[in-house]
Point group: C2
Chain length 391, copies 2
Amino acid sequence: MSPIRRLVPLADEAKRKGKRVYHLNIGQPDIPTPREYLEGIRDARVEVLAYSPFQGLPEAIEAFRAYYAEYGLELSPEEILVTTGGSEAVLFALKVVCDPGDQVIVPEPFYPNYNGFARLSEVEIVPLTTSREEGFHLPPREEVERLITPRTKGILFSNPGNPTGAVYREEELSMLGELALRHDLFLIADEVYREFVYVGEHRSILSFPELRDHAIMVDSISKRLSACGARVGAIVSRNREVMAAIRRCAMARLSPPTLEQLGLVAFMAHPRHRQVLKGMVEEYRRRREVLAEGLSQVPGVTFQPPEGAFYMMLGLPVDDSEGFVRWMLTDFPGEETVMLAPGEGFYRTPGLGHDEARIAYVLNEWDLRRACQLLKEGLELYQEVAPKAPV
Amino acid sequence: MSPIRRLVPLADEAKRKGKRVYHLNIGQPDIPTPREYLEGIRDARVEVLAYSPFQGLPEAIEAFRAYYAEYGLELSPEEILVTTGGSEAVLFALKVVCDPGDQVIVPEPFYPNYNGFARLSEVEIVPLTTSREEGFHLPPREEVERLITPRTKGILFSNPGNPTGAVYREEELSMLGELALRHDLFLIADEVYREFVYVGEHRSILSFPELRDHAIMVDSISKRLSACGARVGAIVSRNREVMAAIRRCAMARLSPPTLEQLGLVAFMAHPRHRQVLKGMVEEYRRRREVLAEGLSQVPGVTFQPPEGAFYMMLGLPVDDSEGFVRWMLTDFPGEETVMLAPGEGFYRTPGLGHDEARIAYVLNEWDLRRACQLLKEGLELYQEVAPKAPV
């Protein structure tokens, strides 16, 4: 069981006792879903709520195509398949790239749900450790190449990164690309946080012409439209065999939800859609600043302001972050507390992450400030009173 | 490639040439989705379209619970998990019941998508042949038992049956139950057509107390609410270990779509919901009668009026039903034609189904009458002019 699953009941218990819990541990944004999207659903003229084609509605594929074109990515409709959220896209990618028992390399810390997708596909995740000190950027090529075995079929990464906030530089992606070509690996790039870039520029894996047969991109509207419950994502590749195999996976599950695709169609047809997306990013940019400022006043925590997404991995002055998070829920005095995601759950390599926690900046600025204050008080008290973690 | 996938482009081509094609080949009903459901979605007060819990929204679980209670099935919330359509429920069931390489017995003819789910789960389908003459009811116990091997983990069946229309009698289900208990197999009952019963009575697999640890029920709102595009289904079992394993599968994919769960909540809270469901069934009952009457006037076709669901397997006076269906799309003269689903795609055993086709009565009464007329003319002409199929 992941640390966070062990802790959720404690948070529920704290709330039952009347405590307010600031949840910095979850990836569910609080920002309202744009009305241009929700009205698109409400106004959809649907008499029979029918299956969409298994590839997605043609107009939804077109909406994705138009969106990628705004980023200079020219794609044909056959290169895009609408999925039931980004989750299904990752699952399809692993299914198509690997046979059971195969391996994918994943830079750690990584999105813990990759473990679930790998388990469902019976694929082994081989972690490539990255560090807070390096801003979670990729290590030199040799360190990546060393992990490649005859069973390695691909490299799966999120960029911008959850939980790291790292936005890979062009040379990092080129390095992965060279390895992919040399060892015939697929690069599966989870780019659902594409919009959320605060430092530098995001390069899509699809923008490297030499990788046309090796790149698979995973996408979702969940984050950029604050619509996690829509369950609309996409898988995109220029490799025809890959897309044919993905279509075979997709046929079996019939179709992604219809109304939420229509919402996307309406949203992308709306003249203000780019402004709405930008507004969303600006909101996170402000929060990121508030958070960086608030955290800079917490003695002992270490972090680099994230380049993208809406997470950061925080170094904590404790040697058992799960114990600290638990203590904040069960023993921290007062009427409010804060919940973080212990770092351990984001690593595959045993022993890593015990002095880290992930923060998701999915609260408004006021709440973020208050959460930082509580974290500061909590850490101070914990270091005084809490029992030392067993060595 | 399944026969139907080979034929769809021909139907598209016929339509491009201006021909009207009566589609009796698909399972997508034409009946409007009840406004009590669609308005439930439109009126949902959603500010942030957030993930639902992976098990489904508590109120959606309650809506399923209330629905089953109307059928005398008393279930606790932990025994119900909301899925992304019935498809995902079948997939989860296979995943949980089988390891790769295991077998499930499936009465044939069966819903062809079971092949896709089995492929995704690397499970082998062992067909149990049933016949049109017996109304596709189950053969004697010995014939089922003969198929059980050490690798058999379950028996998967749809009841009421797609494509057969068979509604299993209590003694048939008891027979399966005895085998399940004796050989420690799971019974996976796909009951998505529960509402659609015209002859006899439907018994849910969950109504057999002795099977509490062996029964898994698959459900969906797609058919009873004519809402295939909603992607809301459920998997239900009283076996705690099974439900725990299903929860692990479900966590990985995050959540089923939120709005369509809210639609169901509103629908079940509506005082007229039972009437609406009944009205839906009455519509299909009338169509079934129209179709039975229309088909009785087509020389050479054989069928038994189906007991449930909205399909029937038709015996055709041809020895290559795929060839006939193709000919109807490419060569049948006139401005209208009819498309059936060739029987072969519903069988696993090679050589079966070549003189059969599935009809879905998803058209209005007038169109059904016209389709029967076209079928009659088509068969007459085909038998005169069409080349004999190669032996």
